[in-house]
Each structure stands twice: as C-alpha cells, then as structure tokens.
Symmetry: C2
Subunit: 338 residues, 2 copies
C-alpha cells in the first residue's frame, strides 16, 4: 500500500451519500487501483454498503463518526458542531498525515471553513481559493477563484496565478501553462485598480515560473487560448454560473424544439461532443492554498462524477501539487521585489 | 410627420457603414413607416447610397459631416476631434430638440463619452448605464449595467433598478416588471457590502414603483424568473461575454460534430428556437440616465440587426421612456428616506 494515494473521504456528504460515494469508488477502481480510501461516516451504514460491494472491500477502511454536517447548514454552525462529524474527521486526518488528500461531496461553505480551521495555509498565501475545471476547445481550463473570496487584493490574485499554474501542471502534461486575468477588455488600462496593479506585476516578468499572457474577456474563456484564468471569487462565481445557465438554456431549448434529438444523440460525433460537455468531467473543485489538498465534489453529481473527483485527487497527490505551489511561490515574492 | 419618431443616425459608424445602415432602414420601413431618419455623415457617399434606394428617400434627410470617429479610436481622442464627426453631430441634434433619439453602430466608448459630454444626466442620476436585452425562457430580460461603470455605489445600483424597470415597461407590455440583483447566492448575507446595502434599501419597499424580488444567481439569468437584472458594469460585462462565449462554444461544437446540422435547421421547431437565440434581436444597447436616449447598435451586426435597433428606438420614444424614468425616480429618493 505504500505507493497508493491515501484519500480521506467524507462518506456522508452530498445527495445519495453514502451509496453514491461507494458506487463512485467502485467505478474508479475499475481503471485505477492505486488509491486507498478511508471512509469517514456512520459505521453501521457503511458496513452494510460495503458488504454488498465485495470488490472494493480491500481498498477501504471505515472510521466511525457519530455526526453529519447537513447540506443546508451554515458554515459557522457546521464548524461549531464539527468535531464528531465525518467532514471534520476526514480533514483532521490530513493534519495527522494519516492520508494525502480529502474528498467530500458535502456542504461547500462548511468544507471551506473547516479546511481553513484545521489545515494551515501554505507559507506566503493568505487566502485559499476554490479552483475548477472548465471545458474549452482544446481541452480544459483551470479557473479560480470560483467563490471562496469575494474581494481579492493584487497579492491574492498573484497567489492564485501561481497556484492555478501549479494545478494545471499537476493535472495535465504541460510545463508552461498560459495564465490570463479575466477582465472586460484587453487593453492595459481596462478594469479596476486591483486588476491593473496585478497586470503590471505579472507583466514585469519577475515570476519566472509563470507564463503570463495578459487579460482575457469572458467570451474567450472557452476558446482554448489560455490554460489558467484568474479572477476574484465574486466574478468567478458569476461567470461560472452564467455559463452553466447558458448551456442549460440552449440544451433545454434544443430538446424542446426537437423531439427527435434522441435520434441525433446516436450519431457518434455528437456523442463525442456531448461527452466533452459532460458536467461530471468537470466535477471536483479544488481548494488551493492549504498545506494539504482538499477536493470538493458536486453535491448532486452521480457515481461517475464522483469517480472523476477521485481521479483528480489521485493526480494532485501523484504530481506533488503542494510542493509545486510552494516552489512557484518561493521563486520570487512579487510584492517585495517590485 | 409630426407624429413620427425622429431618429438621428450616425450613418458612418460600424462595419459596412453606411451601406448596412441604409439597408437596415429599408428593412425597418417595410413594417414601420412611423420613423423619420436624419442621416449624419459624408453627403456625397450618402447621396449615392440613397440614389439606389428610392423607396427610403422620403423618410431620410442628410446632414453633412466632414469627419468620422474610427472604431478603434480611444474615447478621449474621439471626443477631442469630435465636433465635426457624424457621431458628435447626431448626438448634438438631440440637445437642439431636432430629433427624439440617437442611434449609432460606431465606437461604444466614444459614443458613451460624447453622449455624457453633450447630453445632461437626468436629475438625481449621477451615472448613466448601458442596458441590454438578453433572451430567456419566456421572452427577454433587461440587464444593466453592461460595462459603462466598473465600480458602482448602492445609489447607482438603485438608479439602475429604477431605470431598468422603466425600460422594461417601455419595451414590453408589463406594468410591474420583476427586478433582481445579480449575486453569488440568494441569502441576504451573500455578496459584497454594496450589494447588501442595495438589497436592504430595495427590500424596505420604499420604492413603490419597483417590484423587487431579491437576488438572482448567474445560472438563472435566462430562466425567465425575473425581467430586470441589476449589476455593476464590470460584473455585467463579464456575465454577458461569458454567456456569448458559452453559446458560441456549443454552437460551433454542434456544427463541427454534426455535418448534417443543416438538415436539422429546416425543422420548423428548431428554426423557431434558433430565431429566439438570434443575436440580431438583442442588438441595441441602450444608454440610460441621460435626458435624451441614445441607442448603440452592435458594430458588426447586419442590416436585420440594425433594423431591430431602429425598432428599439421607436418603442423607447413612443413609450416616453425618459418621463417614465423621471417619475420612477421622483417617487422617492431611497437614500434620503432610509
């Protein structure tokens, strides 16, 4: 087991937990047996679920937890009741080095707050960010922050650029991902003061490990021009949800106007495109900036989506993401050396 | 002519001007003869174009202008060279009451700056905003600000709510459009301080003419739940462009994966949906907050899109939009009476 990635799983978080979680593990084990799962949750329920999935028993260990954080609980109330919950205990096991990474499909706000409370931030990073994957013409982007930090300074945005770049390197084979700042125009004088300051620092080329390409507008997020897109959590959240809403609007409109869409869906090429857009593939937001990585699976995803999140966890640990972030940051402190 | 809407047109602005402009006027006159067009631009060119469109001659008058504002000119340099340009002269004619509204497909930044320089703002409004139309499941939304004001105070956002509501009433038959604030969650404590303050004022129900429905998230912009969506110009611009980019990504992906899409497009129902999404219908951003209305047509739209902008101009004047905005604002000054 020494080479396996040890994943602490909050087995009680999200819709249809823990059934979905265990089905997701089963799917994941079909293609990758290099993970070991610590299941945090109610022992009797988890035992019963494991007993009907014999194939995965050798890859799992149950750690009993008496409490659960509800999906609609406020982060603060969740953190207060925290210590006996499956989410808290899973994250806590990272501090004790009992695992390499945590994965939860539970309450996002609670997960973010509990992660911050338990795990320290990487030296030099003041605000952890929520990064996500976004489809584009070539492959996928990393976009951050998607909602953890409503207001960000230039220092935060530069940290996000370093962390996002390290994440992209970890997930995809690319040594020099292109990084851009989300803005409302491409000219240097566009945007608010924080964006202009961030642009000036990144453009000065003092960050040797960073391939900064300037500004990007919202209509080019999916064009594949760049790999990592940096923004504050308010703007990132609006952009992400607007894109989701637009995609749903078009999908539902097409379905409604064309009963025969089902015939179309059998065309191989269209199936490929549908698969590219499959939201389960983009499932798994990553909390960046903590000394140990935490991955959030979408609460409503299905077992296939959860299996994708497991794969993200595996890649992050194998690629030594945290070390990559640290070395990106250590290279230069942009604010001191301006 | 006394009942006709008098539209001052910057006939030299945008791609393929003035040909596109005159073709657009011709299309518009097929369904609506209740407009008269003052064409600002180079007389010799406009005369030649009019000579090959005999049908529209009785509805147009040329006013010669020796200069043109280029599409890539900075707003400041445009405003400096301004006074002899077709854009400047068209807007100036509003001040002299020679027309009811201006329409240009030219440089947006220049149009905004020149409009602000020449036309006064409505009493009580400090920042004019750029409003646009956005398709939704039921019909269309009005969304503002789409990029005129990067940073907005609660006073600005409340003005936008009043103005957007008045615009919706003018364009569609609806006495009580639903107004919502764009945010990253629905709970009262979500978002930044300015949003929270704006929410509190709007929620206090002191604005009798305003049907405020709380927050809306990006994924519901197109759901048809509300009619008017309020945001600052930075966020609005990012959301608009992200939606455009997402729609293009899906459209291109579908085309590429399905050569036989052309067959599909002949299906009546799909044609209806395509027509609903046709960007030419949403062409025409409206500058709100000035004492006289200015409409911006997309620079790259075609004659059909330009004709849609003409129709927007017609409706705005016929519905007495400016009076509607003034009476909305006069009802109560929300910041004084808190």
């Amino acid at each position: 087991m020494s080479n396996k990635v040890r994943i602490a799983i909050d087995a009680m978080g999200g819709e249809n937990a823990p059934k979905k979680i265990l089905d997701g593990i089963e799917i994941s084990l079909k293609t990758n047996k290099e993970n070991f799962f610590y299941l945090y949750g109610q022992e009797n329920i988890l035992k019963r679920e494991l007993s009907i999935r014999k194939k995965i028993n050798d890859f799992c260990e149950i750690i009993n937890c008496n409490d659960i954080i509800a999906d609609d609980e406020s982060p603060l109330s969740a953190a207060k009741k925290g210590k006996e919950t499956s989410m808290w205990k899973a994250i806590e096991s990272q501090n004790e080095k009992a695992c390499d990474i945590s994965l939860s499909a539970g309450n996002t706000g609670a997960l973010l707050l509990i992660s911050k409370l338990i795990l320290k931030t990487i030296e030099g990073i003041s605000k952890p960010a929520l990064a996500g994957l976004w489809p584009n013409k070539n492959n996928m982007n990393v976009v951050l922050d998607l909602g953890a930090n409503i207001e960000c300074s230039e220092k935060n945005l530069i940290d996000f650029a370093c962390m996002g770049s390290a994440l992209f390197k970890s997930l995809f084979e690319n040594d020099s991902p292109k990084v851009a700042l989300l803005n409302i125009g491409l000219e240097e004088n566009k945007g608010n003061d924080i964006l202009k300051k961030t642009y000036a620092i990144l453009k000065s080329n003092k960050l040797k490990n960073l391939n900064f390409c300037g500004y990007i507008e919202g209509n080019r997020i999916m064009s594949g021009d760049v790999d990592v897109i940096i923004t504050d959590g308010f703007t990132g959240n609006i952009a992400l949800k607007t894109a989701e809403g637009t995609a749903n609007f078009i999908k539902e409109g097409l379905k409604k106007s064309l009963n025969r869409l089902s015939i179309l869906l059998s065309f191989n090429e269209l199936r490929k495109f549908r698969s590219k857009l499959d939201p389960r593939k983009y499932n798994g937001a990553i909390f960046l900036g903590l000394q140990s990585p935490v991955v959030k699976s979408h609460g409503s995803t299905d077992p296939v989506g959860f299996a994708h999140s497991i794969e993200v966890c595996h890649k992050i640990v194998k690629a030594k993401l945290i070390k990559k972030i640290e070395s990106n940051l250590i290279t230069v402190d942009p604010l001191d050396k301006q």
